[in-house]
């Protein structure tokens, strides 16, 4: 199935060869970003385990990792932002397909254009406003409670995920336009 559509990929659509090439690059980059998020998440889990161990041995002079709660919050947020583009690239955002499953394949693909365009709108809003949120946090010098870490940095670490999510969403609009032209989606 994959090889069939690959064969047609070069023939139909808006700049199909370019779309395929950009798609591969974006897929690679979102994979790297998601893996980086996974490393952050794993690090957060490890830090939490260390904190629990430290707490358990507080009689021996150890203690919890300072600011463990705020590190979990910031790490989790950065990881989730980093996961968004990969999910969209892999068509992972959940949809209800039942009512359209009897529609012609081309119409189904056309509806995906609308769905991806709507998600693009939301993703662009999110990224755009997050950017201003980051500027706010930096300009007011807000910090976290325990570590006194500038909140702006946590926002800044989230911005690449949000911005890249918007880029991948826009790309998926293009991808589904071409699939509509070709007559069906690649699954």
């Amino acid at each position: 199935m994959r090889s069939d559509s690959m064969a047609t990929a070069g023939t139909l659509g808006l700049a199909p060869a370019l779309e395929a090439r950009i798609g591969r690059a974006l897929g690679w980059a979102s994979r790297i970003l998601a893996l980086a998020g996974g490393v952050v998440l794993t690090a957060v889990a490890l830090m939490t385990v260390l904190s629990i161990i430290g707490r358990g041995f507080s009689f021996a002079g150890l203690g919890p990792v300072p600011g463990d709660f705020e590190l979990v919050e910031a790490g989790c947020a950065v990881a989730v932002f980093a996961f968004l583009p990969w999910c969209q690239y892999r068509r992972g955002h959940v949809t209800v397909d039942i009512f359209i499953s009897r529609f012609p394949l081309r119409l189904q693909a056309g509806l995906a254009v609308i769905g991806n365009a709507a998600l693009s709108l939301a993703a662009c809003l999110i990224a755009w406003r997050l950017w201003y949120g980051m500027i706010d946090k930096f300009s007011y010098g807000e910090t976290t409670m325990i570590l006194g870490m500038k909140l702006g940095y946590a926002y800044a670490a989230a911005v690449p995920g949000a911005a890249f999510f918007a880029v991948v969403c826009l790309y998926t609009v293009w991808r589904s336009v071409n699939e509509t032209i070709r007559g069906q989606e690649e699954r």
Binding site: A34, G38, C76, F83, C87, T95, G133
Partner: protein, 440 residues
Amino acid sequence: MSGLALSALAFAAMLGMIFLRMPIGAAMLLTGFTGTWIVTGSTTPVLAQLKSLTYDTFSSYSLSIVPLFLLMGQFAAKSGMSESLFRAAADWLGHRKGGVAMAAVGACAGFGAVCGSSLATAATMGQVALPEMRRLRFSNALSTGVLAAGGTLGILIPPSVILVIYAILTEQNIIKMFAAALVPGILAAAGYMITVAIYARVSPDSAQVAPRVPYGQRFRNLARVWPVVAIFALVIGGIYLGWFTPTEAAAIGAIATGGYALAVGRLSRKDFADCVLAAASATAMIFLIVLGAQALNTFLALTQTPQAAADWVTQSGLSPWMVLALILACYLVFGCVMDSLSMILLTIPIFFPIVMALDFGLPPEETAIWFGILALMVVEVGLITPPVGLNLFIIHSLARDIPMSETYRGVAPFVISDLIRIAILAAFPVITLGLMRAMF
């Protein structure tokens, strides 16, 4: 336009978008944003709130359980725990009529104890148990049906991602919710086993018998499930013994499961990447919908819809049980076409205030927890009801040659078992609340 009318219109528009296949998170976000814009008459509130809303939502300490439990489930799937669970269960039950199918239910329940997601449970156990049942010539209907149903045990038995989200939405204690879910989860597993037994009697050709296994081997294989027992004891036991918070338990669970997979040589760098990417995709999907629910809730609060709906129901003169039955029926209908998480996030802001305004002769906290378990049960039925049942699709993807219609047929008895269980749990709240009352 009144607030209630506006939100009804917005809901209709949103469902329209969802049924025309817009990603559910996007439909919720755009409906929430547009609704807030209309109510406040200005784009400022939406745009200003969005400066911090996304980061605030994603950086929730309690929600950080979700990616950690998902990662834990992925590690558990890689580590071979699923095989040892199924092997052990099949050794003990396989020689009975339909015993291997019962073993699949038991193994699903065991895997559910270390995995917070139904889809991961169905996918993992399906890979292990489906080939075995097909080799033994179980009918296609029974083998796919029992695995799709068994997969729901992933979320009915704690830890459970959906319970975490319900608890956060309704400000309930996650630990008490897990305690309340345990007995209903075990009842679900027992119900599925009984269903298999009846299935085997009614349709003897569907269910086969595996050769009896000597006791020595049974105990050897049983001993191999120790990692599952140890991790469940550590994670859930640790929460109840007061060693750590649920989020910390999820972190420990993820590290312990990953560490075990690494130790048994099943977590190469590529395996780790696979686990991370699978957890990443599921996490992103869930958090986008949670964000959509936040945007939608802002709009609903502005229109005062939840209170208005609750007032309307209490003044309607319907008895509390009637209202509860209607709500549960509503979930069953929606469950035919929607996934469980979206349903919970979409409906709880409306249904929860309604339920809390009714008198079931329980204290408010118990009503909240009991309703949460009932809601969880009904939305999980949605995973196995045709036409859209994500567990059905997952099992189908593992055995493309089995027509979907056979799977639909095979899962039907399990849906009936679910409905009977839900009716019992609704009629006797003590089954859900008893353990929790005893523990707290």
